[in-house]
Symmetry: C2
């Protein structure tokens, strides 16, 4: 099965303790689709401006991403500038220029409307709802969001959460949306009348999945250096949803493996700026690191 | 095999978002030995003042802890007063009265000097070294410390680390001691010429064990409410070292199970103030929660 992602394609300028990169390829849909492309066919809906170079488009083309939904319009592409200090879990946004992204009104090409697996990356929840209306018969829908929408449009977000199967969200955002300091209580509150499954991203501490009464704790891969955390969350979601779309397996066991694939992809992505590491992986490398996650967490039963 | 612990026995006054407790039983050696007592025989070395009530001594006696090394001297018992806000990973110390603990000079009773397993809880590293000199032929030694000693006596601590098999330390302390933002690099630095094994405690995110080239990531148990985190680290160490002393198994597999038992004990401890939950467990409850840790982390290999 293929997967459809709606989100941003952007220029990022990033400073970390390890160096800096200017106007490199970024955006949630970019990271997501490159990551997912190692597992399944990917279709992308996003908008860029006239300044978006062919070499960036080529990165996605080389990964076989269907770009029928990538619209090019007059104006400049979305630009984000950020800095990370030694606490790499925390991005400090220096500049955000929405540019053509501020008028983004995602319209799915006819051929996309039969999509069975769908990822709504972090955009205005009203647009996420609009995308949902255009998909005829989805099997499994996941969405991300961010603190900006939690603070400005919590009701719309609540409406969206009722219509998706899976919410993927940061730990602090989960607490903020639910107004609960306890993560377990926050999860219960978000899932009450909302998504059946909640995955909480915890940066260098891994991820927690709440699936009905079951909880799964996934570690992060302990790296010597996290070179650039930009895109880690979308890369995680790409591996996760790409694997789910490929197998069609949404059992507890299938979802657990999907999370480890997501964590695997994110661990590669943070090893370099932009998509430098992510775009040139092999399935062998990915499977080998999946195996390392197994060794990292395994202990014998009593 | 039995285990010997040297540390503090104290009165704690604690405020958390869930309530408060005044002058309750606390101290690193108290939490450690109560926790370890579910796995093996425990001998304790600590000092209390004339104000220390028999009912507190009885808690340790009921757990079968050998108290020959518990000295009672003129003066008042060590008192700690602290507060936790909603971030329960961070204790705010309000008052510390060392009292009789300030002259603590641990002298092991003759019957303790053959101890094979030894835990040096957080005290002045010079005293930790003095204890080491009194033990004739130890098989496996572990120690804890805190930021105060890292800042005031880093050289003595470095000397101690060379003489122990295992250092158990908080994440922030590991980074501080090594002067490294990357935890993986910090671990390598601490272990270079130091302990063969390093266990990094990460509060509600679990623990990481570095054992030569191998890394093990253990989750924390996701609780609805962490009622009082006081003593969690020493309770963790008690389960860990108690299990190791009982089995004598210091292989990678044995250590991994020991960490899960440590995490299990810590997860019970934080469910109530003082030792209220810890002192009345059954081995059945402990083994059942160990099993829950297995379900929490398990995923199928490829």
């Amino acid at each position: 099965m293929s997967i459809l992602v709606v989100g941003s394609v952007a220029f990022d300028s990033v400073e970390t303790p390890f160096g800096k990169a200017d106007d490199v390829l970024g955006g949630s849909a970019t990271y997501f689709s490159t990551s997912a492309s190692y597992f399944t066919d990917v279709s992308l809906v996003a908008v860029v401006g006239e300044d978006f170079p062919d070499e960036h488009v080529a990165v996605l083309e080389e990964r076989g991403v269907d770009l029928e939904g990538l619209t090019r319009v007059p104006g400049e592409t979305f630009r984000w500038k950020g800095r990370y200090d030694f606490d790499l879990n925390q991005a400090h946004t220096l500049e955000t220029h929405l540019n053509v992204f501020s008028d983004f009104n995602p319209v799915l090409p006819e051929s996309y409307r039969d999509a069975e697996f769908l990822f709504l990356a972090n955009i205005d929840p009203e647009l996420q709802l609009k995308v949902l209306e255009q998909v005829k018969n989805p099997k499994f829908i996941a969405c991300d969001t961010m603190n900006f929408w939690i603070e400005s449009k919590p009701e719309v977000l609540g409406e969206l959460f009722k219509k998706v199967d899976l919410v993927v969200i940061n730990e602090g955002e989960a607490r903020e949306f639910a107004g609960e300091a306890s993560l377990v209580k926050a999860a219960a509150k978000i899932m009450d009348g909302g998504p059946r499954i909640l995955i909480v991203k915890r940066g260098e501490y891994g991820a927690l999945m709440f699936n009905g009464p079951s909880i799964f704790s996934a570690p992060a891969y302990p790296l010597e250096d996290i070179f650039d955390p930009t895109g880690a969350g979308d890369t995680f979601a790409g591996g996760l949803m790409g694997y789910i779309a490929n197998t069609g397996d949404i059992t507890e066991e299938g979802l657990r493996q999907a999370i480890i694939f997501g964590s695997t992809m994110a661990s590669f992505n943070v090893e370099a700026f932009s998509l430098d590491r992510l775009k040139s992986l092999t399935r062998q490398e990915i499977n080998a690191r999946f195996g390392e996650f197994k060794r990292l967490t395994h202990f014998e039963s009593l």
